[in-house]
Subunit: 332 residues, 2 copies
């Protein structure tokens, strides 16, 4: 058996923007499996914006990632060795082993998945945490009615792409915000949104206004900053804002909301949320999302970096919007 | 019978701060009562911050007050003549006649009130729109649990004073924000809040921090600006913000929210509301509030200007916080 496990540790916290210096690649020995344990060869590592928050030790919903430990993260892979009756070699599993090639578990937080009709990597995307995040914010906070308009930022991303497609299925008008003409074309032509505004084109408010002739009833916010200000100015009375991410503020730059009094004059609801606090919805949401992917009714796209050593660069690029769809690292 | 009705009209919209020039006192003839009509001598005129919003024609929850018409507003008075079987001279009534000495109504939006145990003016304060506003935001949005901390801005005002007292009755810690030592002393000593922060003392965040050692679970916001920023920075996970007023932004100065990403990291709920959209709660709320006032369990304070001609000045003073408690104009 392999006895070396390559890992990436967080070795320092960002001052301002995160950088490659914050990470270090190390090799660690793999101890023999104890009784009840399972060893997994990770095939895919999920890279997600929330990880930037964990790199910081500012007050947040989660404890910071400890320094000099393996960087956290969701993983999908295959059982290669098992001393646990619930798992056998060859089982495909989703876990939370972080940025390393092998994971060892007592089996408790490991979930077997079926990759017959749904590709293994999709369990880190539309049929995983990002998908359930989209499902929760859209269905439990925005709850769009047919004919309403829903705006989604980072619309080509792992979460945003699902939000818009589910909004369309609910009969709403889906309008994305994304960076650049390629992403916007994908959002409209492949994902089926009604419109997509390119925030890099320099005319965000006017373009959003043109794309939302009836105003905005629901906003699924992944980014914050200028896009949120523009969407807020387009909100109709009794609109709902699901606050899921604030990627524009992750480097510590204070990004004010320019006209918060609109929250009052339009009687808006804002709800910040983190999907791990709503575990009750996961089974139903995953079932629905898995069925949609298996039936080819939910499109998604992946950007795949090759090899653990390229994870930091892929992560930093994702924070700048260089990925296109779900950012993964393929480890094998 | 009297044949002249003095009225105050809105004759121009503010550019920046509202001013006395925006209003004009006129005299209008009182037409003879038609069949089914009721004539009321207004005793009290209610002055409320929301009126500032109606003076503007910016997008808001309500149509702007038309120019050259009687300025809107709640009133309490006495029926002096009636061609309507439901009302007789001497009946005490609450209506929405606006800034004028007499009102004429078909009786539909006129409510008889009993001033045996509750003073007539209280129906414009704790047992009227401001009281129900407090009741709705506290009970339906913040819904404080015993032991939680609720922060209220404009704490000595008509709404804020009720919020804090109801929060205390719910077993919460009530912390006010008010302007000046006199108001703060009143908020603590007479209204029974646990603490009150003087925003004019120049140390708002540190003082609020000291007054909220366990953080903040509920925020009832009447003002916006610096107080809201400070309260937001003290919010605990899953806190609730009832957004009731933004008096600091009424002159059109954009007042940004400095750190909106806290709404996400603390998974906060923000709900803007206007109490006239929740008429279903009024009967139960008014019954509860009326009982509390009659039993002397709900304290309130009034600032009373004398004479219709002094209404504009009293209104402008209220916008600057010069009132102490509910601002009224006594007309007779």
């Amino acid at each position: 058996m392999t006895e070396v496990n390559r890992q990436i540790l967080l070795v320092s916290r960002p001052q301002g923007a995160a950088s490659a210096d914050n990470f270090r690649l190390v090799e660690a020995p793999l101890a023999p499996l104890a009784d009840g344990e399972v060893r997994v060869r990770n095939h895919y590592l999920s890279l997600d914006p929330y990880m930037r928050g964990r790199m910081s030790d500012a007050k947040s919903y989660a404890a910071p990632q400890p320094l000099n430990e393996v960087m956290i993260g969701g993983t999908a892979g295959e059982v290669i060795e098992s001393n646990n009756a619930a798992f056998k070699p060859g089982d495909k599993v989703v876990g939370f082993f972080g940025w390393q090639e092998y994971g060892t578990s007592d089996g408790k937080s490991l979930q077997k998945v079926d990759d017959t009709h749904v590709p293994l990597s999709a369990y880190l995307g539309p049929v995983g945490m990002p998908g359930v995040t989209a499902w929760y914010g859209l269905n439990r906070i925005i709850a769009p009615k047919a004919g309403e308009t829903v705006v989604v930022s980072a619309a080509s991303g792992a979460v945003g792409s699902v939000v818009g497609q589910l909004a369309k299925q609910a009969g709403a008008r889906a309008v994305g915000i994304a960076g650049g003409p390629d992403k916007c074309r994908y959002v409209v032509e492949t994902l089926g949104f009604d419109a997509c505004v390119d925030y890099k084109a320099g005319n965000l408010y006017q373009d959003l206004k043109a794309a939302t002739p009836n105003g905005v009833d629901g906003c699924f916010e992944n980014v914050g900053g200028e896009g949120l200000d523009a969407t807020l100015a387009r909100m109709n009375a009794h609109g709902r804002i699901a606050l899921c991410g604030f990627i524009s503020a992750y480097d510590g730059t204070p990004l004010p909301l320019k006209h918060p009094s609109l929250l009052l004059t339009q009687r808006l609801l804002v709800q910040g949320f983190i999907v791990s606090e709503h575990m009750d919805v996961w089974p139903a949401a995953l079932k629905e999302l898995g069925t949609l992917v298996a039936q080819n009714k939910l499109q998604y796209r992946e950007t795949v970096a090759q090899g653990l050593e390229n994870a930091p660069e892929a992560f930093l690029g994702m924070l700048k919007g260089r990925n296109f769809g779900k950012q993964l690292v393929k480890l094998i």
